[in-house]
Symmetry: C2
Subunit: 641 residues, 2 copies
């Protein structure tokens, strides 16, 4: 069993990697860009559409013109946030996610709020990115539409497997679609500009789309509409913080490389987003309120027609959308590991798996996002409302923390004061702007579904506090005390006996070797026939240990043994009772089914008994030797999760 | 958790019963009759229909006249089998099912064949009886028809719960519908005879049913048709062996009471079956090839009209059909317990649960028959083909065994030779007749589905042989030898350490108290930071036990510990290594999730290591004390399966 599972694991994930190979998996910038930035870059594929969608609902094509200033505002916001996070990369070379920054500067509650926001946001990134990638595929191949849920879950599983293989290989696997998308987008922009200069771009298929409702006009209405379109357009910013979280995964000099990568990402995203919005306006493209064809595919259609480049671009779009989820597969497990290290999440999330990735975090993220995809029936319209509220919560807290960080720096040092003040100004601007956007997003998205994300954040917040409290309580109880080293005065040994067979003899011999104060053999009378046989065998073998029989009117093993031990413990509470359990060990899982599991149950219960030690005296049957060999192939470590 | 489960169990099943109350659950004849005979009595409800169904397919109403001689043949067969099994009741007062009888007289393979046949047959009894009872209900209330599968499974679950409560209460619960069915059937016969004498019975609704195919005439065809109808009519015999299996459940004198019950059952079944067939012929009722109304309901309709008695009779019919499954719920767990005692089935099936019923057998039977019902979509037409082949296999083997039994008696004693020869003649006739029927049944039912039942019997046969071989192998390996008592020369103690906390101190103190030859503390280096902390604490506490650190490049706990121990064992194979594992015990299940399960995994693996003893040194946290109290309410024993 374990052997087979292990072999399967090796085929899927590759050989185990030693800890000292962690350095080898550090990323150069050209790989770090697709690994950490596929999320913000891919959002270019739908951010323009989100703006046009809101403006389109207003009912008059004239409103679409507002897309230009709104897009400029989003681009400026993106630039501000990128600039802010570049400061973080330098200030926190060991990884400066919103959690770490707010923990250092704003205290526990702020940092847990940021952590909860990030965890929710990572899950949403996986769900939204994978589902919108699948929507792109199913729009191209409509016959696949009924399989949207299994396809999406399948991609989540695939991402999980790739990430379990380790951080470097996943980077290589993801580089191609990201660069293909970037290259084709710039080719699209170049072609579009060329056509605009040489005779104009043909109109998009949706250019004369009828509005769904009649136009409402008014200054306040126009303002609210633009704010709402802006809030929707802010999806372009999701995932920017991944780089600052992932600084330790960069090659040296880590901070500088990370900051440069952020800059490259910002430049790419802003120019692509602006260009696409410009072309959308030039081709008079509008967004359909229900799906396809997407604005970006309408533009490609107008500029290129339905030829090779159109389909290559569609494929790259679908590819980068699905792979954007990979940003979260890097961010979530790392953050979970940090939180586990700080004892806000279970220990199991803290450690690296045998391919040096944080296996449990990867599995948890994949599981929760798969549940979300199934629960929302892979419906992107509903899922997207849960998104970005987490992003901007963590943005705001992170920037606020950085403002405080620079203030502390100023009070500590008299060097570089100008530079520090400049950084503080940048982060202050970031904090102010992202806080404004957060309010906008909460207002406009709350009823649509953001309340679910906010609820999840609140639950996570209190869950993490509860876990920490539990660990703290246990840690206090486990404090070593000098009195803890005092040896027990007497040790009563009890060997549990069901039959007089070789394991029993071995247990008795071993029990004697531990030189207890006294030694008895204990059996529970369940079956008269077996009891008589045992008594007879005991006499025939002339055993020198007395056999004590306790009766069990309810044909039950555990209770009478516990009662017997409780009585000893009550009579002499300072003594220790050692229970020796002879166990024979079989090899195959089905062989376990053929033997009573009373010993296992009894062992579990005895652990709750104060002053009782439980010793298993195993007796290996021949079939178990084969099983032990199988589970110990020389070059593969045993399974661990 | 365990406390809640236990409370639920008590509400469902009642208080645990002590072993010495087993005598109280012995059955008087008036209760034993419904408990063991509801199956053969209920088959009266459909046996006539099965005969008419085969004759009806022949295409001419004239063939229906053959139903009379065929019914007589079935009645004679029933009388022969009842007479045969009465001999068994006297010869085997401790329970003489086909398995026990063929084991005693025909050897292992014949007895395992009989056992496999019976086990399959019991499962089929549950499935067929429950489903046909539900068909009766859904025919009356057609709106329930789509819920046939969940209804059937629900009844199986209900039967399982009633039987888990214990044998006597289930008898009382089942007495009423059985007696109601018997009484109403005799009232129907009486009313029918009265009406026949005073002006004739009105024709049944199906009297002028058009045949589905044209008549084929010919001597050989008629003969084959009658044999086939006879094979189908033999469903009337299912379940007759239950009484001989259940002799020990009867009140004293067990054998005599059982034989008398069998006689009463035979008399009831033969007279009811003959009477119903007679009334069917008198009212010219025919069987519909697809379901309703059933022949027996057509008769009731003709005789009584659709009044109170008609509906009461329908209710009693549905009731006894579902409860017929109870025969199997008595027979299967008892047989499984005998087989487990003979080590052909796992130990777990051997013991009585805390209500003195064989709980695991009941659960197994309910599970398998529920799967069968779901798998066959509660389709009675398909299920019935899998039936009776097992019945007649066990009949034949059982009677053959009895013939051999009486031959041995003759060779042993010179008393009662006439009486013994008479018994032998009866069983010989039974064996001959049932063997003939078995051949008929296999021929006529094989392709319809009997091949599945036969396949299951073959699988069970080899499975039981395999299980016995495993137990025999283990038993030989476990033979005690005088050398097994030799004390190990040296005992190396290893205390596993992850942190220096109170449980570690306690484990070290206890390890010292066992006076080992040498003692070390062992830790695995996974995390540099934690290792330094541990080293520092070790020095600060001035521990007198050396701390050994083994490195773990793959961040894995189990492997390095196993390697270390293997090395000690290789150096001195005659010594013993005792591994002390400090464990802290938390109370709630969710608390377990918050602590690494490495200790549990390691313990499991160490059991496979020769010469290694594993001692758990538990350290109870405060929360665990509450949990221990909850699991030990004063009057309810801990859960066991």
């Amino acid at each position: 069993m374990a052997g087979t599972t292990d072999a399967l694991k090796r085929v899927m994930l590759g050989r185990a990697l030693a800890s000292n190979r962690l350095g080898e998996t550090l990323l150069p910038k050209r790989i770090a860009l697709p690994v950490f930035c596929s999320d913000p870059i891919s959002s270019v594929a739908y951010a323009t559409e989100q703006i046009l969608l809101v403006l389109g609902t207003a009912g008059a094509a004239s409103f679409l013109g507002f897309a230009a200033p709104i897009a400029v505002a989003v681009a400026v916001l993106l630039a501000v946030v990128v600039a802010s996070y570049r400061q973080t990369c330098f200030a926190y070379p060991s990884g400066g996610g919103a959690y770490v920054v707010s923990k250092d500067n704003l205290g526990r509650n702020a940092s847990l709020t940021a952590a909860a926001a990030l965890l929710v946001d990572y899950v949403m990134t996986v769900a939204v990115s994978v589902v919108s990638g699948v929507v792109a595929i199913t729009s191209a191949f409509t016959s696949l539409a009924p399989y949207a849920v299994p396809l999406s879950v399948g991609f989540v599983v695939l991402l999980a497997i790739i990430n379990l293989r380790g951080v470097k290989e996943s980077g290589t696997a993801f580089a191609f679609p990201t660069y293909a998308f970037v290259a084709l987008t710039f080719l699209l922009l170049a072609s579009g500009i060329y056509r605009a200069l040489t005779g104009g771009i043909p109109e998009a298929v949706s250019a004369h789309l009828e509005p769904e409702q009649t136009a409402q006009v008014g200054g306040v209405f126009t303002l609210l509409l633009c704010l709402r379109a802006f809030a929707s357009g802010c999806t372009a910013l999701t995932g920017v913080e991944a780089v600052s979280n992932g600084v330790p995964a960069f090659q040296e000099p880590k901070s500088k490389n990370a900051a440069t990568t952020l800059l490259i990402m910002g430049a790419l995203a802003i120019s692509m987003f602006s260009g696409i919005t410009g072309l959308a306006l030039a081709s008079h493209a509008q967004a359909y309120s229900e799906g396809n064809p997407s604005v970006i595919s309408q533009i490609a259609d107008s500029v290129w027609g339905r030829g090779f480049f159109f389909f290559a671009f569609q494929a790259a779009t679908a590819g980068i959308l699905i792979l954007a989820a990979n940003t979260a597969f890097n961010g979530f497990p790392t953050l979970a590991s940090i939180l586990a290290h700080d004892r806000f999440l279970p220990h199991q999330l803290r450690n690296r798996g045998d391919r040096l990735a944080f296996s449990n975090g990867i599995l948890l993220l994949a599981g929760v996002s798969a549940v979300l995809i199934v629960g929302f029936d892979a419906n992107i319209e509903k899922l997207i409302h849960l998104y970005i509220v987490g992003v901007f919560t963590s943005f705001t807290l992170s920037q606020l923390g950085m403002v405080r960080h620079w203030r502390d720096e100023l009070s500590r040092t008299s060097d570089y004061r100008r530079s520090i003040r400049r950084s503080q100004l940048i982060n202050g601007t970031g904090a102010f702007v992202t806080a404004l956007v957060l309010v906008l997003v909460v207002v406009y998205k709350f009823l649509g579904g953001a309340y679910l994300a906010i609820g999840a954040m609140i639950v996570l917040f209190f869950l993490m506090r509860g876990i920490r409290r539990h660990y703290d309580d246990v840690s206090i109880e486990l404090q070593p005390e000098p009195a803890g080293s005092i040896r027990p005065s007497r040790n009563h040994a009890i060997v549990l006996v069901s039959e007089l067979h070789a394991p029993t003899l071995r247990a008795l011999a071993y029990a004697k070797a531990t030189r207890p104060s006294d030694l008895i053999a204990l059996t529970v009378a369940v079956d008269d026939e077996k009891d008589r046989q045992l008594q007879a065998a005991w006499n025939a073998w002339q055993m020198d240990v007395p056999l004590t029989i306790v009766s069990s009117p309810y044909r039950e093993i555990t209770r009478p043994v516990l009662d017997y031990i409780t009585r000893i413990h009550r009579d002499s509470p300072r003594d220790v009772v050692t229970v020796f359990i002879p166990e024979y060990v079989v090899g195959q899982w089905w062989e376990h089914l053929l033997h009573n599991q009373s010993a296992l149950r009894l062992k579990g219960r005895l652990l709750y008994q104060p002053g009782v030690m439980v010793t298993s005296v195993p007796y290996q049957l021949r079939s178990s030797e084969k099983a032990a060999d199988l589970e110990n192939p020389a070059d593969a470590p045993a399974l661990r999760l």
